[in-house]
Symmetry: D2
Subunit: 162 residues, 4 copies
């Protein structure tokens, strides 16, 4: 039994374009991160999109949901921008049944020294193997239920609604 990883972009995968001075997306760093973590869980990954989560539409979210349902695996990690993680979680909650879906990301791009990305990926990998079916957001070493999470824009941390 392996874990399926869907890549959607987000801060996680942003890079610095040294010619323009802008942040942009190139390839995902996920394979490199799994290698760094010496991860030996069987995984399959696929890039569904490579966008800032502020630009993610409901159509994008339905596409993600469909991929979750169509996947053979029952354990799914989604890398995602932090700004709209909670929105995606709600849509997946409605559309994906019988699977453990963990959404994670990073506050700082993996390629920058101070990134939380590797820690979050380690957490996500563990939570996806142990949690009951359902949709979760995994950030800050914690796991939140889809319907009960928001990003606190002031602190950059995730917290329960209630």
């Amino acid at each position: 039994m392996s874990v399926r990883i869907f890549i959607t972009g987000g801060t996680f995968d942003k890079e610095y374009n040294e010619l323009t001075g802008q942040l942009y997306f190139k390839d995902s760093h996920l394979p490199e991160m799994l290698e760094l973590g010496r991860c030996r869980v069987a995984v399959d990954f696929r890039t569904l999109m490579m966008i800032d989560s502020l630009e993610m539409t409901d159509m994008d979210r339905e596409l993600i949901a469909r991929h979750c349902m169509d996947a053979e695996e029952n354990q799914i990690i989604i890398t995602h921008g932090t700004d709209t993680m909670a929105d995606t979680a709600i849509i997946l909650e409605k559309n994906v049944n019988g699977k453990t879906v963990v959404i994670t990301g990073a506050m700082v791009p993996y390629k920058f020294g101070s990134s939380d990305g590797l820690f979050n990926l380690g957490s996500a990998m563990a939570f996806v193997q142990t949690l009951n079916p359902g949709v979760y957001v995994v950030m800050n070493g914690r796991c939140f239920h889809a319907a009960n999470v928001r990003k606190n824009k002031q602190t950059g941390e995730f917290e329960e609604l209630t």
Copy 2:
């Protein structure tokens, strides 16, 4: 409810002494790593020893076990050298009841660019919150039962005995 972390040393916390060219132990990097991971799980940590796990004696292991039993917390992470993780796991399994104990570490010191430490710490933090009481080794994104794990010296990876 918070997580208790006991620090025992191991590769995880080794540093390079630039005057002697030797690897050595100074302070633990655990606080820095939790900060980097933006971890918001309540934790308390204490350094029990700062040694290479090849030098760890059964008396050391009993000390660790006693601290696990005496701790108020039921969720405990132990950072540990990889070489004798499995030995410590067996002794803890015999002596610690009703608690979830996760032993983790790193193949490469945290301070060196290519360390798996942050990934492992993320995994350990998630597994300790979700696994049933028992003693586990967490490495390579995986979780192993105390009685069924060994480090493969050829590959540096952890695997089941059977």
Copy 3:
């Protein structure tokens, strides 16, 4: 005899704001970089401004020139955004006499893994101690005269005009 360093901002000192996802300026990383390089040249540094060099005006450049002339030191390093380094060099060339002035910077922020900043600072420190009075741009391990340098926008490299 010590080296004077004037900080003006540029990519060198940009950081990632994890709440907004934007690059911004906070404090200069220069002290940290000199420490990392175990630099034992006596230096004094002062931040004159903290701006993107595309926003630098001629008034800013005259301010830099005045500080160069007023400084007690005859060896001066200026950290600067790469886009208008050559423009500043020309104005300094006209206004600063009898001193060795080296302008340097980075293509990628120091805080991001792949920065050339530390290499450039090492080069600048060496060139400023050895070159005859004049104004120079130091990038790519090379040293260019003020009147004969441009940044190639396609490659991101510095080259002679002729």
Copy 4:
């Protein structure tokens, strides 16, 4: 006109063997470091040996001297362990004429986060292009004449004899 780089090993190029927990030599990181520094000076490099400088014999030093004399280039950088840099400098001083030879290295391996290697390489690249013929040790952002330098074992810094 290009710069010749001879690699002899030293802390600079040490790596961490995650199976044995020992430091060891594999390949030189020099090409990677020049790329990181976006160095556009024409260089040719060759590995002469890959050893700890405490193990370097006078025969090794004569080999290095011969390569310096035989090289077409008049600007030569030698990467070298810090412990016996001064000894090698004296032998090269006696045997190499009419060339600018710069010996440099690092207190901490390049692959470890806190290395001074990139800074030193940047300095060495600049000094070798600007100094008069002679043999020099370049560390700590400074340049020392072959006959007037020692490593202070207490501080790890280089200093003049007199």
